[in-house]
Amino acid sequence: MIERVLIANRGEIALRILRACRELGVESVVVYSEADAYSLPVQLADKAICIGPPEPINSYLNVQSIMSAAEVVKAQAVHPGYGFLAENPEFAEICLACDLAFIGPPPHVIRLMGDKAEARKRVASWGVPVIPGSPGEVDTEEEALAIAQEIGYPVLMKAVAGGGGRGMRLARDEDELRQVFNTARSEAGAAFGHAGLYVEKFVHPARHIEVQVLADGEGNVLVFGERDCSIQRRHQKVLEEAPALISQVLRERLFQDARLVAEKVGYVSAGTVEFLVDEEERHYFIEMNTRIQVEHPVSEMVTGLDLVKEQIKIASGVPLELEQKDVVSKGWAIEFRINAEDPRSFRPSPGKVERWVVPGGPGVRVDTALYQGYEMPPFYDSLVAKLIVYGRDREEALSRGKRALAEFKVEGIQTTIPLHEAILGSEEFREGKCPVDWLERFVW
């Protein structure tokens, strides 16, 4: 087993990884920026090492600093968490070149899945349904118009290098496409360093259903069930649940396709195959996320298993002890992403946490790096806590979510707790099967 892991991240996911290390008896070293000197992961880690000033580019994205830290503390592996360097194939390569295990899939898998157009092409070639669209990158407006003509409007223009819902533009007709094509290209260039776009049919109304997989690189691929992540704001997930309200027939198709993708691509570690599902329960591959995801706890809650510990064991070369029959989904879990934001304007609200009383009791899990008295730095994303509730069935999970949100007491910063309470209060949400644009239209 790996004996010392460098955690190249911050906040709740750094703490999540630290917890997994602790339980495995693995030493954890947390790297941190000057802004995070008082953070909980730094306080709890076996060792913490400052790698730079607050700005991510100089610290959490500073490969040289992180590699130096790994070297001086004699780490044997690096866990990148999500965000920052988690899906950077060069970083994974550098780790391997330095004899550090990268806790994630091999670089070529990250690279392939990072190229959304190429990934789509490859996945389609294996017989997995993809959304009708351009066979690859489209370079000109005319090319885009021709494809849109063929697959029918509305269409989405998506950045080849995008992902996580970023870098998308909708065109409902020819005029709109002409209007937004160049904007979309330059945005993609600015945001991802690559202006490449592809064109896709806009499936609407659609739900976002994803499948968690875990593979050990020895040919064992486990499917950890599906998650419904349709509650989104600006393509950012807000609330996720497992399982999804879908037919068993669809579930089996999704599992089969997710497994196929993981097997064909030679996947290793935890990953997520994302699908759109339309009203007739047709499913389309969107992308594969080659990292542990923010919403992984809902799958842990319904299976009773620990994905991050499995990641570390796999990176240590320990073959999976689990078999598919051990992964049984039972009950219902919902995750509420709680951000330090004004719940209506979504303006970030960093500051000093004057009061912080987290919910507890049965069926409640809280993943957070905040504590009362903590001064939230303004440099990083606004996720401050993940509240995950578990119940025997969806109804119990909903009522438990409601009571847990009501007992979550925060002062000093604003949070999106009221938004989640409003979502839980909505009849449409309680009925389930909300499409991905539901929250954008939700009035409260």
């Binding site: 000197a37 600093s65 070297e71 008295g373």
Partner: protein
Amino acid sequence: MDIKDLLELVKELADLPVGELELEIDGVKLKLKKAGVQPVAERVETPAQSVATPSLQPVSPTQDGTPQFPPDAVVIRSPIVGTFYRAPSPESPPYVDIGDVVEKGQTLCIIEAMKIMNEIESEVRGEILDILAENAEPVEYGQPLFLVRPLS
């Protein structure tokens, strides 16, 4: 009231949440104040900041040193994470020692990071007052390495 009663009273009080007592009885005047108990009124006067700072200090050496440095000294910190070396090779003499006067731009040490030797130069002309890191030990970003008294 005799001395025994008095002792009894004092002992009893020790276990009770009583801070101050004044007693006048049979011509005896008694005034008691419990040790180690600060009257609450005074507690309010003490600076409120102590509440504000997190009570667990991080282990990082970046945090610990600053206050003890003389006010006129300059702290030269590590600009990168790596291993601190006082000399270019194990056989060579150290770049600098305590008491040396260094010129601005003079090499003070090497930080090795990813097999690359990074020479760290003095930002000022001055006298080396202290060397704050151990040879061949890891240093983190911002860790104090040298204390220099600037000279004009």
